[in-house]
Symmetry: C4
Subunit: 319 residues, 4 copies
Amino acid sequence: MVNLKSIFSNTSPAPPLRVASPKKGCSCSSKKSKSDSCCKAEPKSSGKSCCKTESTMASKPLMAETTGSSSSSTSLNSEVKLCCRGSSEANEDEVIQDTDALVLSKHPDHPANLICEFCRIFYNNGWVTGTGGGITIRDNDYVYLAPSGVQKERIQPLDIFVMSLETQKYLRKPLHYKPSACTPLFMAAYTMRNAGACIHTHSQNAVMCTLLFDKVFEISSIEQIKALPKIVEQGNMWYSDKLVIPIIENTEKEEDLEASLRKAIAEYPAATAVLVRRHGIYVWGETVWKAKIYNEAIDYLLELAVKMKQMGIPTVKLD
Amino acid sequence: MVNLKSIFSNTSPAPPLRVASPKKGCSCSSKKSKSDSCCKAEPKSSGKSCCKTESTMASKPLMAETTGSSSSSTSLNSEVKLCCRGSSEANEDEVIQDTDALVLSKHPDHPANLICEFCRIFYNNGWVTGTGGGITIRDNDYVYLAPSGVQKERIQPLDIFVMSLETQKYLRKPLHYKPSACTPLFMAAYTMRNAGACIHTHSQNAVMCTLLFDKVFEISSIEQIKALPKIVEQGNMWYSDKLVIPIIENTEKEEDLEASLRKAIAEYPAATAVLVRRHGIYVWGETVWKAKIYNEAIDYLLELAVKMKQMGIPTVKLD
Amino acid sequence: MVNLKSIFSNTSPAPPLRVASPKKGCSCSSKKSKSDSCCKAEPKSSGKSCCKTESTMASKPLMAETTGSSSSSTSLNSEVKLCCRGSSEANEDEVIQDTDALVLSKHPDHPANLICEFCRIFYNNGWVTGTGGGITIRDNDYVYLAPSGVQKERIQPLDIFVMSLETQKYLRKPLHYKPSACTPLFMAAYTMRNAGACIHTHSQNAVMCTLLFDKVFEISSIEQIKALPKIVEQGNMWYSDKLVIPIIENTEKEEDLEASLRKAIAEYPAATAVLVRRHGIYVWGETVWKAKIYNEAIDYLLELAVKMKQMGIPTVKLD
Amino acid sequence: MVNLKSIFSNTSPAPPLRVASPKKGCSCSSKKSKSDSCCKAEPKSSGKSCCKTESTMASKPLMAETTGSSSSSTSLNSEVKLCCRGSSEANEDEVIQDTDALVLSKHPDHPANLICEFCRIFYNNGWVTGTGGGITIRDNDYVYLAPSGVQKERIQPLDIFVMSLETQKYLRKPLHYKPSACTPLFMAAYTMRNAGACIHTHSQNAVMCTLLFDKVFEISSIEQIKALPKIVEQGNMWYSDKLVIPIIENTEKEEDLEASLRKAIAEYPAATAVLVRRHGIYVWGETVWKAKIYNEAIDYLLELAVKMKQMGIPTVKLD
């Protein structure tokens, strides 16, 4: 009963449509009226553009247009006014103009919205407190990334970075933020495993298990193992299968983990996660939903393993 | 203070009316206007039917009509438009047309709504994370079942299966989902004990107790025991009574548990639950509310028993 | 970080106005329109009266009128329509007609509303799961009591009993419910200590401490002790004071605890709580807010004491 | 998974605008209509002034005007009516008239609003239950302080004290409340470290660590350490750095901690926190957000340290 998951995924049976909320320095706080004096005046101002036009994109709009405004909105689309900090302004030459459209969507399952939602869930689980941890979601070539060193539970869509998987260049770089130091690690999951998402937490269950296990974390014959994939073949693990997660040693800088993470991924083809000693865990999956489920199931098993160790019960069942 | 129950049952003194929310692939996101262009167009489209008519059924409508739309709605009923994924389309010959009416109701105590609500509560307790666990509710002949292998906290009414207890045939089978592997086990509670609901969790307290106890879980002389029924006679247990819950061995496939579960139910006529080693627990009750209360009371006792074991205190009081 | 308090007291800085919500069997679900067909028809129906008139009573209306409707509503009062299950119908001769007015108020601090709110908070803390525990609040002569054997987190104002402290007779008895078995125990706190409220929980911290301590629970030199009253003199305890809470033995029936509870209250004049072995705790205070604070502070200390015992640290500081 | 952070920071991606809600004794409960009979009448009444005018101050209004009403509201500002308990009435000669404007703002990041929000978050983490703990935020010369001995999760903006850092005199003193006993301790963080905020909790992880460590708390080689500042030089700590937090002895009265707290701050220039034996912790930061992050990261490390000690693992890594 110590496990609190996803309070906010639950506050409404269908997650509410979320769009970026007005920020400091933006004087337009109402989204209701197009004749709002703030919003009418803003587009004319130079420098900070305060009001964006966003199409609602009702028909599964998991991918926002990358350039221009959604001026081609159909009758199914409604227009809303959004305030932002002018993060669409290019701060590097390769950044596309009006990149806010990459992260603004009314669809709750848009990667930018899901990153915000999941960060709040993970924060409530104690997995990403104190700016720790992170999450990335990939939609075809587009890789969405939370920024570095920020309070994860307060991330907004406009705070999110977007990178092209193919070119490894940023399509969107929010002002005032640094890209996540986890980026090369996340890329390893994308390129080596064709992952659809990767979750990184500082879960204390993960850290404790890296203190209680040596080279690998091992557990067998627990029903929850069946939520995890075999990977090397189709389907999920069986109850009596042994789950093995490699543990790599931590480094001073997060980006320096890349080589050993890649090595562990290569050496453990059946693993969908890598533990980092005294640090946390990386978990990936074919889709963001799979990654979420795997992360939950693994954390359940890590938590149980600590309890079993405390009571002197071996985590791998002896036959 | 580590126990978090039912955040969402609590956000409103009376649970909010919940109806299935619009899904991907459905372009009708507004329920407010009957003249919504999406909704007007949809009924004519073949294949995916997007808009359903649902009667509000104000007067204790715990059982929705099984066929047809609620065209006989009285002045007490209002009509709302709902979007769905076309799950009403028959995918097996025995499935009734327009079976969505079986699971769509504005009444918060409709079995389909309660399954969704309870799954969120159980998820927040850590009982059904990573797609684990489940719940079934029976309303006379109709057995409502959550689907297999899905995120329990995100289930919507339209995701729910309905089976006839008498014929053991599905009256409703949502597209894209598999029936729960727990179904034969739930049926055992219905047929052998005339249960009104059955809850299955992967509670770590349950798993730990199956690692700390041998053939049965036993505890006595704890006040919380009084929340549990005697079953073999009228009324609830006394404080000093010994609660005994049988523990059966786990199997590779969940459905293979059926024989030993049935045996345990037969051998322990006073038990309202069965523990499954390294797996979790099945708890049932005369009604869904009783099942919920029993499950909470038993989990409290399982949690307390682990703590007592940790401190070297016997769970059965020595006189 | 394992402590979850009062999620719902917190969802809004000022607790939302809560009135009894529509129940099953009541066809009036809208409170917005006085011309609602249900509400207009209902007053004329015999048997179940569905719509009540309640005055908003803006100016600190902690005590609702006991008889009649609030027809004397002033311009400061608005009228709302409420649905109920006809629980105002007398089922014992001493019960006043239209006793719903005793428990219906828009003021969030009305005892009936606070009982509902606190029960949800306590449920989320794991203190009253599985129908366990309870709370009573006194407003002058009126004693408000939660019913027996119900899910505490789902109590509504109309479910609440009201008793006269002076006559010890019920002024209000909801249909279908039994009075709480804790009633004589609560009355001991009212009559022997002039309490304004009494809280009873099945907190596992309380139960564990009754298993780890003998005749009394003792702790000293913890800052949180300063939240507790000296009682035998003015003001609160000091940091280095020793908090002593007597532990009484449990009985088969809750009402049989009365004699030993009264004895403990008499023998420990400085105690604002009594622990019950293998059962839980009773905590009272001058007002409902004091009782809530004392209960929180004591539970904090009980939880800490269990942790200290686990680490071999004495709970009473040795100088 | 035992860690619940900030449920309420999360209920909305952008924290909702919160203004002081109507209190008892105030008959004006509607903020919608300026023609509300209550609000129109109130300004004329002597004694308790019920309705205030507040400017919405859309453009980052972190500092409210200190005198007069916001009559100079521009077209970007809307006017709302607020009820209060007349706490603006001067109860000491140095208090400015209409000091409510110091704490009333629609901006969620106004110090008065953040104190209320954070107190609810901390309460849900078990850090400030039973009236324990507190928080202060500084905005230039203005120091905002929660009152003493109140339920932290129920604090409203109008309950908050404001002091001038320079003159050390109160600019605002709510009626019925006492200033926090932590005030001189908070001032030490402001004057000795130029802090922007200081958080004081009774976290059980903090208390347990003061029972498990002697003169200082020490931990090294845990990734979460990197969330903490070096202070004596630019930037954050490295993974393998050793975090050292001094532990001072508790005193009977909180204000008597000042001398030893000042001594610890002086002797540990690299510390951003001080633990108080058997009491809790004080954590400060350059801004309120930094203080929140540091407090979360430190509590994570304190919690982990207790678990490591329980399993016999040294908290400082041996090379």
